[in-house]
Amino acid sequence: MRHGKYPFVIGFLFVPVTLYVVFVIAPYAQAFQISMTNWRGFSAPQWVGFDNYRRLFDDDNFWKAVQHHGVLLLALPLITIAIALFFSFMLNVGGKSSGGQRQGVWGSKFYRVVFFFPQVLAVAIIAVLFQMVYRPNESGLINGVLMKLGFDPVLFLIRPNLALWSIIAVLVWQAVGFYVVLFSAGMASIPGEIYEAAEIDGASRVTLFFRVTLPLLWDTLQVAWVYLGIAAFDAFAIVSVLSVDGGGPDGATTVLAMEIYRNAFVYSKYGYASAMGVALFFLTLTFAALTLRLTKRESVEY
C-alpha cells in the first residue's frame, strides 16, 4: 500500500501501544524487580536478592494457598467438565433419533438458556448471593430448609474442611452453563452419519458417548481444561467476598491472589507480595505447559 503508509500505521498504533506498555508491560516487568527488594512503600527499596522467595518457603499461608490451588485445579475442571459433558450430550443427542437425525431431549433450548445465565453475572455478585444461600442460621436458603425439617444447620463456610468445597460448588454452579454451550457447539459439528453408522453397528448410548462424542470433542475439552485451570489460579473475587474474613476460617480457603492482595494492600509488604505474584506466574506457566504436553494427542479428522 502506497502513499503515507508509515504515518498512518504509527498514528493508529500509538495510543493502543502506549496504553498497553504503560499499564500492562511495564508493571509486569517491574514485578520481577520489586520481588527482589524489601520495599514497604515509604523509603527507597533495598535490594535483598532472593530473600523474599526464601521466606515464601517458610510461609504457612503461602503453602496453604498453593495446596488450595492444587485442589481447585483438580476438582474444578473435573466436576465442571463431567457435568457439562453429560448435560450437553443429553441436550444434543440424548433424545430419540428420527430418520437417523439425533435430537436433544425435550426443552433443550430452555435448559441451555437457563444454564448459561450465571455466566453473565459478576463473580463478586454471585459470591454475595451465595453468602445468603449458605448462611448458618434459619435465614439461609439451605439451612432454612434443613432447620425446618429438624436437622442441625450445616456450617458451610465456617467448618474448615467444608469451606473450600462450598466455594468450589459455587464456581461449578457458575461455570457449567458456559461449558454446556461450548460442548454443544462442538457436538453440533460432529456429522450425523457417524452416529448413524455406529448405531447401525449396534452401539449403545453409552458407547456412542465414549467412542464417538468424546474422541471427536477432544480439542474442545482441552480448551475447557485450560480455561478452568486458569480460573483455578484466580478465584480472588469469590474467596475474598464469600469466605470468612478473606480466605478463612484460619486460611482454610485462602488462595495466592488473596495473599498477594493482603500482603500488598493491608500489610504494605510490596516486595514480598510481588514475590508471591512471580511464584503464581510460574505456577500458571507450568500448568499451561504441562496441559499442552499431556493432552497432545492425535485429533480425529472427520
Partner: protein
C-alpha cells in the same frame, strides 16, 4: 439407499466389541427403545434438577428483597406479606447502590468504547499492513493473554498512583482498556484477516485515505466481530472486582457496583439490613436477566467465541 454403502470411514466410531453385523438387526428392536427412554428420562431429571439449582437462589433473592428482617428469619420460604418497595429505596439511596450502579455504567461505557476503538485500530493495522516490527507488536499484545493480573498488581498500583490517577474513574477506564487489549487485538486481527481485500482496494483506487477507509469501509464490514468482542468486553469489565478494589479503594463515592455490593455484604454484621442487601442484590441481578433475555444468542456466542477461536 443401502446404509452399508453410505458409511464413511469412521475408525473412532466403531466399537470393536459390538461389531456383530448379524446382531445389529435384533438390537434395533425393543431393547434400543427402552434404553432410549431410560436415558431420556434420566437426562430429564438431571436437567430439571440443575435448572432448579440455577433458578432457585435467584428467585429466592427476589422474594427476600420484599420481606422485612423478621420474615427473612422466620419464614425464608414463604412469599412476602406485602411488596415492600421501601427496601429498594433504602438500598438505592442509603446504601449508595444507585450511585455504584451509575459509576459502573459510566466506567464500562467509556472503557468499552475505548477498548473497541483502540483495539480495532491496532488490530486493523496489524492484520492489513506490512511494516517493520508488525509481528513484534502483535506478539507483544498477545503475550498479555498469558499473564495473570495479580503478578502486576503492586507495580500497577504505583504506576496509576504516580500518574495521579488513583481513585479516579479515568485511571480505572485506562487500566480496563489496557488489560482488554490483548484479547481484543488477538480476536480482531484474526477477524480483519478474513475480510476480502477487494473492497479496500477499490476504495484506495477511488482516492480514499487510509483513515477514511478504516472508519467508513472496514469497520462496518467488521461489525459481527466487533459485536462479539464488544459483548465479551462489556460483560468482563462489568464483572471486574479486583482492579476497582485496588485502584479506587479510598474514594467510596466512585466505587463500582461489584465493589459496593461486596462491601455492604462483607461489612454487614448481625444487626445488618438484610432486606436492603437482598434488594441491592436484586438491583444488580435483574438488569442482567433482562439484557440476557433480549440478547442471549449474541451473548452466548460472544462469550464462547474466545474459546472456539
Amino acid at each position: 439407499m443401502n446404509p452399508q454403502t453410505t458409511l464413511p470411514p469412521t475408525p473412532a466410531a466403531l466399537p470393536p466389541k459390538n461389531v456383530k453385523p448379524g446382531a445389529a438387526g435384533k438390537r434395533g428392536g425393543g431393547g434400543r427403545r427402552s434404553e432410549v427412554r431410560f436415558f431420556a428420562s434420566l437426562g430429564h431429571v438431571a436437567l430439571a434438577v440443575w435448572a432448579v439449582i440455577v433458578i432457585v437462589p435467584i428467585l429466592w433473592t427476589f422474594l427476600a428483597s420484599f420481606k422485612n428482617t423478621t420474615e427473612i428469619f422466620s419464614s425464608p420460604w414463604t412469599l412476602p406479606a406485602e411488596l415492600r418497595f421501601e427496601n429498594y429505596a433504602r438500598a438505592w439511596t442509603k446504601a449508595n447502590v444507585g450511585r455504584y450502579f451509575l459509576n459502573s455504567v459510566i466506567v464500562v461505557t467509556f472503557s468499552v468504547l475505548g477498548t473497541m476503538l483502540f483495539g480495532s485500530m491496532a488490530a486493523y493495522v496489524l492484520a492489513r499492513y506490512k511494516f517493520w516490527g508488525n509481528r513484534a507488536v502483535y506478539y507483544l499484545f498477545v503475550s498479555g493473554l498469558a499473564f495473570p493480573v495479580f503478578l502486576a498488581l503492586v507495580p500497577l498500583f504505583f504506576v496509576v498512583k504516580n500518574l495521579g490517577l488513583l481513585d479516579t474513574h479515568t485511571g480505572l477506564v485506562l487500566v480496563y482498556i489496557a488489560y482488554s487489549l490483548p484479547f481484543t487485538v488477538f480476536f480482531l486481527t484474526a477477524f480483519f484477516k478474513t475480510l476480502p481485500t477487494s473492497v479496500a482496494e477499490a476504495g484506495m483506487i477511488d482516492g480514499c485515505s487510509h483513515t477514511r477507509l478504516f472508519f467508513q469501509v472496514m469497520l462496518p464490514m467488521a461489525k459481527p466481530g466487533l459485536i462479539s468482542v464488544g459483548i465479551f468486553n462489556i460483560i468482563g469489565q462489568w464483572a471486574q472486582y479486583q482492579l476497582p478494589l485496588v485502584l479506587l479503594s479510598n474514594a467510596k463515592e466512585k466505587w463500582v457496583l461489584t465493589q459496593g455490593i461486596a462491601d455492604i455484604s462483607v461489612n454487614a454484621g448481625y444487626e445488618a439490613d438484610w432486606s436492603g442487601l437482598f434488594a441491592a442484590l436484586t438491583i444488580a441481578i435483574l438488569p442482567m436477566i433482562i439484557v440476557y433475555a433480549i440478547f442471549q444468542r449474541q451473548i452466548q456466542s460472544g462469550l464462547t467465541s474466545g474459546a472456539v477461536k
